[in-house]
Subunit: 272 residues, 2 copies
Amino acid sequence: SNARPDTMASNSKRDIQKQAIEQILKNAEKNLGELCTTLASYTRKTAKLRDKVDLLVATLIDFSHTEDPEFQIGLKNLAEDLALVQDYRHAQVERLETKVVTPLKAYGDIIKNKRKFTADLNREQKELQKLEKTRLSNPADRQKIAEVNAQKASANAQRSIKQIEETITDFQRQKLEDVKKVFREFITVEMLFHTKALEVFSQTYGNMEVMDAEKDMEFHSNLRHQGGMDGELEQEEATKDEEEESETEMEQDEHIRQSFAVQYAQTTRKHN
Amino acid sequence: SNARPDTMASNSKRDIQKQAIEQILKNAEKNLGELCTTLASYTRKTAKLRDKVDLLVATLIDFSHTEDPEFQIGLKNLAEDLALVQDYRHAQVERLETKVVTPLKAYGDIIKNKRKFTADLNREQKELQKLEKTRLSNPADRQKIAEVNAQKASANAQRSIKQIEETITDFQRQKLEDVKKVFREFITVEMLFHTKALEVFSQTYGNMEVMDAEKDMEFHSNLRHQGGMDGELEQEEATKDEEEESETEMEQDEHIRQSFAVQYAQTTRKHN
């Protein structure tokens, strides 16, 4: 061959670089693809958890309707707070989708474009080699032309190596920055949810603590003893009075012992 | 009928009470059954979420192996911290099972026993009514015996009402106390998990922040330029030196920038 040793070295280095970038793209495709699939599945499972607690909320509200005032308020408050936490979980799901899953999904296209770019470089390179061969087959002033062409080919090969190196470096840098960004978003979204859930539940716990079964026992016992054995009509009226009285009590009670969710909604309304 | 008016009233009130307790047991069976099913399902979905993040941890560790030192450490640390949060989630799942789902499951048996108790009371009552009838059919000193028996039946009915009332009250009180306890446990278990997750992730976030893609770019560029174009053997040796050097660097780096999980494990080991 008439090509100079550094051109040969360049071509050999170019092949190594080609293999390297192919390996890097293959790894990225595999790793980012798996991250995307797993995080998308995590997001879906989180949404299912939200739906399950929404079902628990509905069950608690049904339950509260069969209970006396104290537990009726207590269970309703619990349900409202659980529902509020699910609002935060819903925000978590939406943020995971837009800030974590979607950017990772985009990597399929990014890798496809990089592959196209390196394929273009390879095709260009092959055309130049072909051109060099054609000129070498020309017998006139063969040695001189060969020298010039070999220099051109060498410079070309060097430029091509530099381009591929830059492509690798750019892709790697961008990939690492993007992976870092995606997981910073992931951690932020998770922390935000945990913080909000903690904020709500610490209030809910306080509300649960003051729920007093004895109050409902007394409420029921009063109903029974005021009604007494003096005929149904009188008993019914007594029950009605008691109910009216207890509704006022409930309203007062409700004013004092609101769910965190309702207090939160009122604060938000005030601010808007 | 020879029964006195208050006995009739007692019997009528007893029927109302019987209906009431039947309704209470029916509601409890439905409400606590639904709570149990929903919370068991929530627990299973939480376990699935744990499994999904465990898969993410494995993917991150695979990923870290294809990266240069800076991101290799960064991704490994992230994986370890995510794994630690899943340990907490596993504890959450186990606590939900023993402290929330199991006590609610026990309600099926509690309600069955209450039903048996009221069925026993009813049978007893019917036997006494039968006995009264037999005695009334005896013609000798009919009026007097009837009086005595009616008094007995009335006292009996009153006692029976009292027993049923107590049964209702005890069951209701116990049910409310148990529901309160179960949800206090639920909130506690959830809060514990959120607190721990927040503790880990705030450290993880700090570790993510210092991950610097440029360091890996420089690491790679050094590898390339030290190797230069001076033949493969020399390049390989340079790479080997570089790798040895970088391993030492990595060890140092690792010492400084450990995952929260590893720091946590070391602290725990020290305390034990």
